[in-house]
């Protein structure tokens, strides 16, 4: 009865609050919070210069550049094409549309290792796609970008799609009545309504890409300073029993991920208030 007395802000006749919340908090602590705190406590045992050296070594900095750069590029490509895919799926009819719609979620469902070896095979120099390209994709930073584009693909489509479905035709009709061309209507009426959702999808794709490991390591070639992503560097340090070094880099990535998460929460709040107004 302790939780019910101290935490409830509104009386309820329903039973089970103490049991449900008690179990939730206990489980959350043991599975998520305590293990995660281990990363921060481990780095707290390091001196500041040691920590700073570990997270700013040239090889580590190169991995940040690649991870953040390729994640950003992948998320941008997904924002552009994801908007088109969402538009086409909501507004037009064409053969096998429902099948294609269901398949958009494939990167969520396909294990990353499977995606990794499939993309590597496709984009290697004698692969189905790679043989027609004048430049190398597999085993270069470009391969990292391809893998991160694949795993981020559903995010923009799935955030923009519902907003587009709810969009009332009246806005577009009003714009057309007032003499707007179709492109003007899209640019000045439809796009501003979609913008928060588009940005949210972009941020989700970016966040997912930052931590991605499985689909990247096969196609990247993993050359230090060139095509080595930060999560791989963490594993490399672990395999050398450099637990402190690995954890220091992990903490940097965790903080970056939390900042992106806060940004996404703010974006979603903005999107909701925007939708509430229309």
């Amino acid at each position: 009865m302790f939780l019910r007395k101290t935490l409830l802000t509104r009386h309820s006749v329903l039973p089970g609050f103490d049991l449900a919340l008690g179990f939730t908090l206990l489980y959350l602590s043991f599975i998520v919070l305590i293990p995660l705190s281990a990363a921060f406590l481990k780095t707290a045992t390091m001196t500041w210069p040691a920590f700073w050296d570990a997270v700013t070594a040239p090889r580590v900095l190169a991995s940040y550049r690649l991870t953040f750069g390729a994640s950003l590029a992948g998320a941008l490509v997904n924002a552009f094409f994801g908007l088109i895919v969402a538009w086409v799926l909501v507004r037009y009819d064409f053969p096998a549309k429902r099948f294609i719609d269901a398949l958009v979620d494939l990167p969520f469902a396909l294990p990353t290792a499977v995606a990794g070896i499939a993309l590597t095979a496709l984009y290697s120099q004698n692969g189905w796609i790679g043989q027609y390209l004048p430049f190398k994709v597999s085993f270069t930073p470009l391969g990292v970008f391809v893998a991160l584009t694949f795993i981020g693909l559903p995010f923009v489509v799935r955030t923009v799609q519902p907003v587009l479905e709810d969009l009332q035709k009246e806005f577009e009709e009003a714009a057309a009545t007032l003499g707007a061309s179709r492109w003007q209507t899209f640019r000045l009426v439809i796009f501003p309504i979609l913008a928060p959702a588009l940005l949210t999808g972009f941020a989700l794709a970016f966040a997912r890409a930052l931590g991605e490991y499985g689909s990247v390591i096969f196609i990247a070639g993993n050359i230090p300073m060139v095509s080595e992503i930060t999560p791989l560097l963490i594993i490399t340090k672990l395999e050398q029993y450099d637990y402190q070094g690995a954890t220091a880099i992990a903490v940097v990535m965790l903080v970056a991920a939390f900042i992106v998460l806060l940004g996404i929460n703010a974006l979603q709040g903005w999107a909701r208030s925007r939708q509430g107004r229309t």
Binding site: T9, I34, F108
Partner: protein, 308 residues
């Protein structure tokens, strides 16, 4: 009134109205749809993008798996190391999915049916594992249970192994799939409110009776949806499991790890054969997801109607 109008006039008036309605519908369609060339260009661009990034990668898995014939394919799938990897994958999913299912129901019951302090913080914390890199998800369990970790010496003294053994793989999988069921249930149960449960309570129903007879039937499709997604992720997880597994062939390798080993040994056909099993699982997941999604949407609509 209209019955009094002579037949001919009525017919022509009707035809006139029909024609003008058709014309205005056409005009409106022109004003709010794109020219055909724009439409087909957009469809073309979308399909080309999906072809290169979805359809071809999916196809190549099956083509590469069968490149050397069914014999090699079957041999790769029934070989002892592969079978043990399949077993371990099933075990990890069979433990982590029910655990996170129970958690998801408990979390959703407390969050959706009660108003309490710190609820938003709790919601954010539940989503936390989604924003943690899989590699880091594995690393934190090494820091807790590894030889140099908090419980490392104690575990060694008691001859228990967590890291580089099955318990570590299960723990990492539980962490990775932690939010799946909870985040499907919470919004639906919040939308459904507490009126039905309260009515049952007033009529004298006990807690478990309310839960099984009222709440469960209302959320069963969302629950199934969460379980499907949770299971797909549990079976396919690679990064987190890779850190804690130790890659002992035939003992601590799950299917994704087995694929990696085969691939690094240049046994491409075998790697893709095992991968094709996981790709099939992904396709089944998508089909189930699509079927269940319609029912979840219906339940959400019902909840929305009731709220109004």
């Amino acid at each position: 009134m209209s019955a009094a109008v002579p037949l001919r006039a009525g017919a022509s008036a009707g035809a006139g109205a029909g024609a003008s309605a058709g014309a205005s519908a056409r005009a409106r369609a022109n004003a709010t749809t794109e020219a055909p060339w724009v439409k087909w260009t957009l469809i073309g661009v979308a399909l080309a993008f999906l072809t290169f990034f979805l359809f071809i990668p999916l196809t190549v898995v099956f083509v590469e798996a069968l490149k050397k014939g069914w014999g090699v394919y079957l041999a790769a799938v029934v070989e002892p190391d592969a079978v043990s990897a399949i077993k371990l994958t099933l075990i990890a999913a069979a433990i982590s999915v029910p655990m996170n299912l129970v958690f998801g129901v408990a979390a959703a019951w407390s969050i959706a049916k009660f108003e309490f302090r710190g609820k938003n913080l709790l919601l954010t914390l539940i989503d936390l594992p989604f924003s943690v890199s899989p590699v880091i998800s594995g690393l934190i369990f090494v820091l807790v249970f590894g030889l140099q970790g908090w419980f490392g010496e104690w575990l060694r003294d008691h001859d228990l192994k967590v890291i580089f053994a099955v318990p570590g793989i299960v723990l990492a999988t539980v962490f990775i799939t932690f939010p799946f069921v909870a985040r499907e249930l919470i919004p639906l149960m919040q939308a459904q409110g507490t009126e039905q449960e309260e009515a049952a309570r007033v009529l004298g129903a006990g807690g478990w009776q309310i839960f099984w007879r009222i709440t469960m039937p209302n959320v069963k499709w969302a629950l199934l949806y969460g379980v499907i997604l949770c299971n797909a992720r549990a079976m396919g997880e690679f990064g987190a499991v890779s850190v804690v597994s130790g890659h002992i062939r035939g003992q601590t390798t799950t299917m994704p790890l087995h694929i990696e080993i085969l691939y690094n040994e240049y046994q491409f056909a075998a790697a893709f054969a095992v991968a094709s099993l996981l790709a099939l699982l992904a396709l089944v997941t998508l089909a189930l997801k699509y079927a269940v999604e319609q029912r979840v949407k219906a339940q959400k609509r019902n909840a929305g109607d009731r709220a109004e």
